[in-house]
Symmetry: C2
Subunit: 113 residues, 2 copies
DNA sequence: TCAATTGTTCGGAAATATGGAACTATTGAA
DNA sequence: TTCAATAGTTCCATATTTCCGAACAATTGA
């Protein structure tokens, strides 16, 4: 049984959050998680079906270690949720500011509308 | 004479801004520029004297290409200013949100007080 | 003209990202 | 119980990026 490392709220760093969200795929994953009632498996949260499983797994690990998401095992799947309250407590306004900006960034969506 | 590439405001991307600011040294540079009346040479803006010149030059290039700073040549030195208005126009609230968070991030300052 | 200063460019070493293949863990069916 | 299917992880090789030192270019002042 693999158990996951989640940093405590106080151990979340700005550099970690920014570099995690600097990747368009990871930003898209976070956006997707927040939209879809906050809980998705890894493959369901993937913004692009052509990404290799190993790459996707790595993206989720980065998001986990940055403190952006929490992952728990539920059967075969993993349930991922955004640690919105923790991020807000650590860096008030940051996550929402970034997500709001992502709406006006044409380069951000992996699959543009 | 080396001339610099500065992206137009509309070409500034969220991923570029976030990945540029995800590096603590670059974030510190931007903070320093904003504090010191907004204009500094590259070495003067360096948060840490042990960083190699070539590395510093690279950091400034990244900031420039992300659209975060503008560089103009003034004699031997380069004058760097933060494109605060452009960033604000492109991504309202983003830069200030990140800078505000950097105050409460102990890991952010290169030379902690 | 020459030395000093500022920053860029180049080359190699170290770190990181990506994808394919093999592996583990869990579920459901026979 | 045994077997196949599914979801992620880990390992490995390749490719890209980062960092530094050294050499270089441009400007200034003596």
């Amino acid at each position: 049984m693999v158990q996951f490392v989640h940093p405590a709220t106080k151990d979340i760093t700005l550099a970690g959050v920014l570099s995690a969200l600097a990747d368009p795929i990871r930003l898209q994953i976070v956006r997707g998680l927040l939209q879809e009632s906050g809980c998705l498996s890894c493959t369901a949260a993937s913004p692009c079906p052509t990404i290799a499983k190993s790459t996707l797994s790595n993206h989720f690990r980065v998001l986990r270690e940055a403190g952006l998401i929490q992952t728990s095992k539920k059967g075969v799947e993993h349930q991922n949720t955004v640690r919105a309250a923790d991020i807000e407590a650590r860096f008030p306004g940051l996550l929402m500011a970034i997500l709001a900006c992502s709406l006006s960034d044409d380069a951000s969506p992996v699959a543009p509308a």
